[in-house]
């Protein structure tokens, strides 16, 4: 977003108008008037950066990936088209910079962090872990907007903190982000290099671009290869390290734990779309998983008539699936702690059995006939958490959903055991 090239004022005015329009459009997309609207997937999905990283990592392209196609073409044809014409983050940064007394010189001497990060991301993506995908500006923007749509909690605000941090950074070190760090910007530059091979440099190239362009292709390729290799190696390491217990609960249809934190861009869409509000940004665990969505069944559960989170996930961290498919995706098995369970201790409580939408919990009588326990049928249980939400024991619930083993992909349960749907399709949420 360097305006070193001369641009006639009227054209510039038009371009600025276009950018404000783009900002407004981005806001509308990120904050659809109708709650639960699937359209919130569009904004982050427009980013070719997310599309490339996620597609590589997931090794499959979904229809959502196509949304990035127009922008990809435009940035291929016009250098830095996205920064110049569309990026809402860039425009906000420019406005912030106006707050500064003295316009500081654009940041030139920092290394091209963004490029190396991008290469590491793509390299990691090949092994399923696109490292810095979450640094995508559209995802950060989207996450920020979503933070305000949720009921205000500390965690929600933290989930939206990326954009304010960027703006703060811009106030201190103007343009550092846009020119050196932003991976979407870096992607456009790489494409520009690629394009330069095809045709001579355009008039409007920035000094920095010219500079990099002059770098020897060979060096670049080698460094790129190294960065990508480092990314891949890191991905491998991270993936292996991801066997620890207890694993977080992920939305149904999520990628395996080895890839999830990488592919997830922290856009906040899933938490926002969830009608039961059980998707929460993760605050515990290691840094890599920070702010990724995790499930809490404290008050409510993953409803059998809903598959919203997968529909709004731009990166495919949560698979887009039909309701029928979603009903077979296992979040994790429910397990009973018999020491705590009221029924197992002689009390007339069958709260979990009554609640289970999948009829996956049965009464089991012990051999001597004097104790009765809830027994979870793992062929039917999808880990929706209805039992946990309704379980009346405190502080610990006697029945809890536990995460499925991390590296296993989603184990679909056989379709034969898909429930007869509840007689009431719109199962009300549990109020407590």
């Amino acid at each position: 977003m360097n305006h070193a090239c001369d641009e006639n004022p009227s054209r510039r005015r038009w371009r600025q108008a276009g950018r404000w329009l783009a900002l407004a459009a981005a806001l509308c997309l990120a904050w659809p008037l109708q709650t639960g609207s699937w359209t919130s997937v569009i904004l982050p999905a427009l980013s070719p950066h997310i599309a490339a990283g996620a597609t590589l990592a997931a090794r499959s392209a979904g229809i959502i990936g196509l949304l990035a196609l127009p922008v990809s073409i435009l940035i291929l044809v016009f250098p830095r088209w996205f920064c110049r014409h569309a990026c809402p983050v860039g425009l906000l940064q420019e406005q912030i910079e106006k707050l500064r007394r003295s316009p500081a010189p654009p940041w030139r001497r920092a290394p091209l962090l963004g490029r190396w990060m991008l290469l590491a991301t793509l390299g990691g993506a090949c092994l399923g872990y696109p490292f810095f995908l979450w640094l995508d500006p559209l995802a950060l923007f989207n996450g920020f907007v979503n933070a305000w749509r949720a009921p205000l909690t500390g965690a929600a605000l933290l989930a939206g903190i990326g954009l304010p941090l960027l703006l703060l950074l811009d106030l201190l070190l103007p343009r550092l982000w846009c020119q050196r760090v932003c991976p979407l910007g870096a992607l456009q530059e790489l494409l520009a290099l690629f394009r330069r091979r095809l045709r001579p440099a355009s008039r409007c190239e920035t000094a920095s671009e010219a500079e990099t362009a002059s770098a020897k292709g060979w060096t670049l390729a080698r460094r790129g290869f190294l960065a990508a290799g480092a990314g891949a190696a890191g991905a491998l390491g991270l993936g292996l390290g991801r066997e620890r217990d207890p694993l977080p609960l992920r939305p149904p249809g999520s990628l395996g734990e080895d890839r999830f934190a990488g592919v997830c861009v922290r856009c906040g869409n899933c938490a926002q779309a969830c009608p039961s509000r059980i998707v929460r940004p993760m605050l515990r665990g290691d840094l890599a998983g920070l702010l990724t969505p995790t499930l809490s069944f404290e008050r409510d559960y993953c409803r059998e008539d809903c598959h919203q989170c997968g529909r709004v996930c731009p990166s495919g961290a949560i698979a887009r699936s039909s309701l029928q498919e979603k009903l077979r995706q296992v979040i994790g098995p429910a397990r009973v702690d018999l020491d705590v369970c009221l029924l197992a201790n002689g009390r007339e409580c069958t709260a979990c059995i009554q609640r289970c939408p999948f009829r996956a919990i049965a009464l089991k009588t012990t051999q001597d006939g004097f104790a009765t326990e809830p027994a979870v049928d793992l062929a039917r249980c999808v880990g929706c958490g209805a039992c946990e939400a309704v379980c009346p024991t405190r502080p610990a619930r006697a029945i809890r959903v536990t995460a499925r083993p991390g590296r296993l992909p989603v184990q679909p349960i056989p379709s034969a055991s898909v429930p007869e749907r509840e007689p009431t399709p719109n199962t009300p949420s549990i109020k407590s």
Partner: protein, 456 residues
């Protein structure tokens, strides 16, 4: 002790017997149901054959035929409550306090049903939770009973502010129920088993019961079916659902304080049973197999099998290290029947409605939550009112709720509150001279509130 009659005594006896024969039906009927009878009862009397009109069943053509016969009317009343369990007790007290003549018929010799005779001592669902706050939903007659128990040392635990799900002592509970029934002026028939109904056309006019005094009738303006099994509405031909459910038998263990819990746990025994107000005693729940409580053969089989397995289990416990001092204090006098018939009411309260906390214009009580961890749910009057049959209301564990919610609604606290509501509604219908389904709901709600009930 040997007793020989002299001639004078014999003569006196014979004349008394002749007198008895003259108005036998009336006399017997009057004696039951009155708390104190001062009628001179001869120490012994000889009953010659044929002093009483007899209508035995006749074996005719291979079929047993019950001949038509007139029945003595033991009582005429405004509100008749059948069944003296938690629901029936609350219904009778509420109706009598509302100022109508009330009669209560119970097949056993005490009140409380499963709560006392079934030794199910824990009153679950007394509270709910709203916005994190504990809310007492069990108020009114049932709560008054528990409150009065707090004034007796060792009669109840967990009946205090901030506590929920009280446990009461069965003997103290029986005693206090007697007191409250007596104070309210309810006419009581114990040891009377309601076997049939009295119909006038399609209208229910009363019930027929069996006792040591033979088969008699009670006429009533409104009948509250608190038998738990819907015996009355079923006999009256009201639409209902019949369900199978687990039938158990509760027992009590003594000397539990002298057992070594840690040692027993090693042997795989998680707990000895549930808390009681009595020291060193625990009551032990038993679920039992799911079967039909309307089948006498099943009841007989279960009663004996359960008792045998309880006996064996306690012997086993006594052989287990840590459990040597335990002993079997008692098996429950009543088999643990949970659910059988459910009324088809004008509104079927569903699990989904309860979870949502759906509001009703005709709310008459609020259901509480297991462990007081969820919101309470309004219970509509329609769940007590039969679809077609008039002059009857259901209360307790046989009201109109769905298969899932009955697991909550059958708990003692809900039986106490729906019983209270049914009694008050029956009294209002009598006073307003209308059918129970026609009473003015706001008046019912006002009466309930005046009587201390909680409607949300």
């Amino acid at each position: 002790m040997k007793h020989t009659l002299n001639r004078r005594e014999l003569l006196r006896l014979l004349s008394a017997a002749g007198l008895g024969a003259a108005f036998s039906r009336r006399a017997v009927a009057d004696e039951i149901g009155t708390a104190v009878t001062n009628a001179p009862v001869p120490e012994s009397k000889l009953v010659p054959s044929s002093t009483r009109p007899r209508y035995p069943a006749v074996l005719s053509g291979g079929k047993v035929i019950q001949p038509e016969r007139p029945l003595a009317v033991a009582a005429e009343t405004d509100v008749l409550v059948v069944g003296g369990g938690p629901a029936g007790f609350a219904a009778a007290v509420a109706a009598a306090r509302a100022g109508v003549r009330t009669t209560l018929v119970e097949r056993y010799g005490y009140f409380g049903g499963q709560w006392t005779g079934g030794l199910v001592l824990l009153v679950i669902s007394s509270h709910a939770r709203e916005n994190g706050q504990l809310v007492k939903v069990l108020r009114g007659v049932g709560d008054e009973l528990l409150e009065r128990l707090t004034r007796i040392d060792g009669a109840v635990v967990n009946q205090a502010p901030g506590r929920h799900n009280p446990t009461s002592d069965p003997e103290a509970t029986k005693f206090m129920m007697d007191e409250m029934i007596r104070e309210a002026g309810v006419k009581v028939f114990l040891h009377c088993w309601v076997a049939d109904v009295v119909m006038e056309g399609a209208a229910l006019r009363g019930v027929v019961f069996e006792s040591k005094a033979g088969r008699q009738a009670i006429l009533a303006r409104v009948v509250v079916d608190a038998t738990g099994d819907g015996d009355v509405f079923a006999a009256a031909g009201a639409e209902h659902e019949q369900r199978l459910h687990a039938i158990g038998l509760v027992h009590r263990l003594g000397n539990t304080d002298r057992a070594d819990a840690a040692q027993l746990k090693e042997a795989g025994i998680r707990s000895l049973g549930a808390l009681e107000p009595l020291p060193s005693v625990k009551w032990v729940n038993l679920r039992g197999p799911s079967t039909d409580c309307l089948d006498v053969a099943e009841l007989t089989r279960l009663e004996m099998e359960h008792r045998r397995s309880i006996w064996k289990r306690v012997q086993q416990l006594r052989k287990t290290p840590g459990g040597e001092k335990l002993f079997l204090l008692q098996t429950a006098p009543q088999l643990g029947v949970r659910i059988s018939r459910l009324l088809a009411g004008t509104h079927q309260l569903t699990y989904a409605e309860a979870r949502q906390g759906r509001k009703f214009p005709d709310t008459i009580a609020v259901g509480g939550a297991q462990n007081a961890q969820h919101i309470g749910w309004p219970i509509p009057y329609g769940a007590l009112v039969p679809r077609k049959l008039d002059n009857l209301l259901a209360a307790g564990r046989c009201i109109c709720v769905d298969e899932k919610l009955i697991e909550d609604m059958r708990l003692i606290a809900s039986c106490l509150t729906t019983g209270h509501a049914a009694g008050a509604a029956a009294a209002l219908a009598v006073q307003a001279r209308c059918r129970p389904r026609e009473i003015e709901i706001p008046r019912l709600q006002k009466l309930l509130r005046d009587q201390g009930a909680y409607l949300g």
